[in-house]
Symmetry: C4
Subunit: 232 residues, 4 copies
């Protein structure tokens, strides 16, 4: 048995959640699961429908995007995953989808304003939308550059990847991450819900304002602060 | 067997309806069921996915929010439930969700106008939206204050909790209640449907006006008046 | 066995289609099936959830709304069905729902403009929206008056019930009919689809105009004209 | 066994995907599968619900729309399929639906602007919307003319059918095609997703602009260019 079996199974299970959570059609998304000790991650093979996946079909890749094990070609977004794992040392899973509402905000090139406690339960900031890449970078190593597009934007804005965990790549679609692959998928589903409600909120009240700071702080801390009292 | 077994089962069954009715994803909602004789209610444990629930996992809490029985931590919204049970003596069940359309109205901080007979079949008033809490209260006992935010708003507006049964907490999400847990969940689903149709109605006709009083009265009374002729 | 068994089964089957077609939640709709020879119709009992229905629970009513057979109280909309059967002699089934998009157009008090061939495949006219009832009629025999509200509107506008088959009652919700109960339910589902696409069409292009007459005529006739070539 | 058995099975399977992908209700769509060697295609029979279909019920038609084999009447859109097969020599499958969002863009008579990489992954151009037909052609051989309406529009705009593969017929609904029936259905589902996201994008940002050329080129080429690296 492969010594990467555990992350192949984590990646397989997480990928299979995408169609169940209505985050993808056909092959429009990919999840990876990392093993930090071994310095590799397991990722969905490119263009293979979810119903044909199995743990064995996951591809093992290192953080420089070299293929380590696997017969199939990995996701075309593999280099973006590799950059994020390399630069964000506490990430254990990454998820990329073209989910309807989050992708529409990305296409509209707008950050998603924090309008309510559903958002504040997870994040204290607007969901960032990274501006589209410069043309010379598009012509270069595109998926690799997409990773640095995200990393550089976070640095520029003084945002921590541990705090954000969800980002929109302008004109493209969302990437989310977390301590493991399951959490990365969870963040993609939460983002889709936040994205839909933010649009509806603006349609119901075009003059709506952002959530006030005191509520942002309270909701985030009850779930994630040192005295959090959410969960078991 | 616990002497609270009957309300544990009612609370369990009512919580399990939330994902079936598309009112929640993950753990975004909680229902409780009260026993007025025993002065307690059974409520969902915090952060536990619906598919992992069982009647045994429900937590028994009294109306001052003291835990009476149960190994798990109760929902983080438990104190809000406790206040509502304490102040509204005929309530037997409470439901809280972050359902898409009702939550979007709450985020937009607008009451839902009564636009049609679907609304009037259930309520004679606009669905109230309670303004966000003052900062000093947010820093205090937040979930307890959320309960009094609701109670005080109803008093201020001269509304009876028996008449309203559905409310939006501004910037947050809806709470609904009823004679039992099943009815509280029913009210959450009706509210979600009313909330969606109210937005669509305004999109179809931005100059739409509220339902006229004669129709409000007629529809409510045929379902709930002394000469009601709806149901068996 | 009841001599009304055949229409009880038709009404039962047609009612059970409503939740499958996502046209209702809980008990928000009712279908009836008529036997013209016997001068009666079978209709859903009031307030009974679809999952608890059986053919035996259908109530037999005549065209003056007298209960002929059945232990349960019939739908609160029974008198509206009775009036429509009495006045429209070739109708064999009637369906009433609070489906999301059609109800929103009814609440907005707008007729649904004919914007495309999906609409023209079924109807050559805008889907009419009957204005809300006068107050003195609301205080009278409300459901009976709802039937005549529909009938009088059709007469006033010179529309044939055979041509229309779908109508919005202003502030309330749609009624549809057809040669039998199955066709009435089909018309409710088609109406819901037309209603959703008409709103989306206006959102995509606020200056959109109605379908031109030549296309209305062509599409309707290929399905319903003397030389129709749709179906078997 | 019929010598057309293989395309009957392909057409049957492709038609059965339409309700699963939520692209149709009732009988609102049809798919065909061609055999170029034999110069024929298999198409859905007209007005038959998907649940009653079988490979045997598919109708075999040649590229001049003559029925070659089959007991049922073929889809009323058969002549449109025939024209497209005749004029576009590398097409192996065609799909026509009245899917909600694509049909709404067709009714609004607008081309779908390319707003993101989901679109660019599949097409480098806006999804064309062919203007409604002239009245004299509507009165003629309507479905045959619909085929040439599409073909002439592509020629007029200098677009290749191999590049486009998805088109909106103004006031009507979409047609899509591909190397086989499965790919034609895939294109219909992708189009529906693109159509929904394009509307949402404009609602989120009314001043949104088209995707820049460098990104269009990059995304299309990574999936379809000579050095494509998507899929296996």
């Amino acid at each position: 048995m492969s010594k990467y079996q555990h992350i192949k199974e984590l990646a397989y299970k997480a990928n299979m959640e995408l169609p169940k959570l209505n985050l993808v059609i056909f092959t429009f998304g990919n999840v990876s699961a990392a093993d930090r000790e071994l310095g590799v991650f397991a990722i969905k093979p490119s263009g293979v429908p979810y119903e044909d996946l199995s743990p064995e079909k996951m591809v093992i890749v290192d953080f420089d995007a070299n293929i380590i094990e696997g017969k199939l070609r990995p996701s075309s977004d593999t280099k973006t995953h590799a950059v994020l794992y390399k630069e964000c040392e506490e990430i254990g899973g990454i998820c990329h989808t073209h989910s309807t509402y989050a992708t529409s905000w990305a296409q509209a090139q707008r950050c998603i304003p924090i309008y309510g406690t559903t958002h504040a339960d997870h994040k204290t900031v607007d969901i960032p939308c990274v501006p589209p890449m410069h043309d010379d970078r598009i012509k270069g190593d595109y998926e690799y550059e997409t990773g640095y597009q995200i990393i550089n934007y976070l640095k520029e804005k003084g945002l921590s990847y541990k705090e954000v965990e969800m980002i929109l790549v302008g004109n493209h679609a969302p990437f989310t991450w977390g301590k493991n692959a399951e959490k990365a998928v969870y963040n993609s589903a939460v983002l889709e819900s936040i994205a839909q409600m933010a649009l509806l909120t603006e349609q119901i009240n075009p003059n709506v304002t952002r959530l006030k700071d005191s509520l942002i702080k309270k909701h985030f801390e009850r779930k994630h602060g040192p005295d959090s009292y959410y969960g078991q």
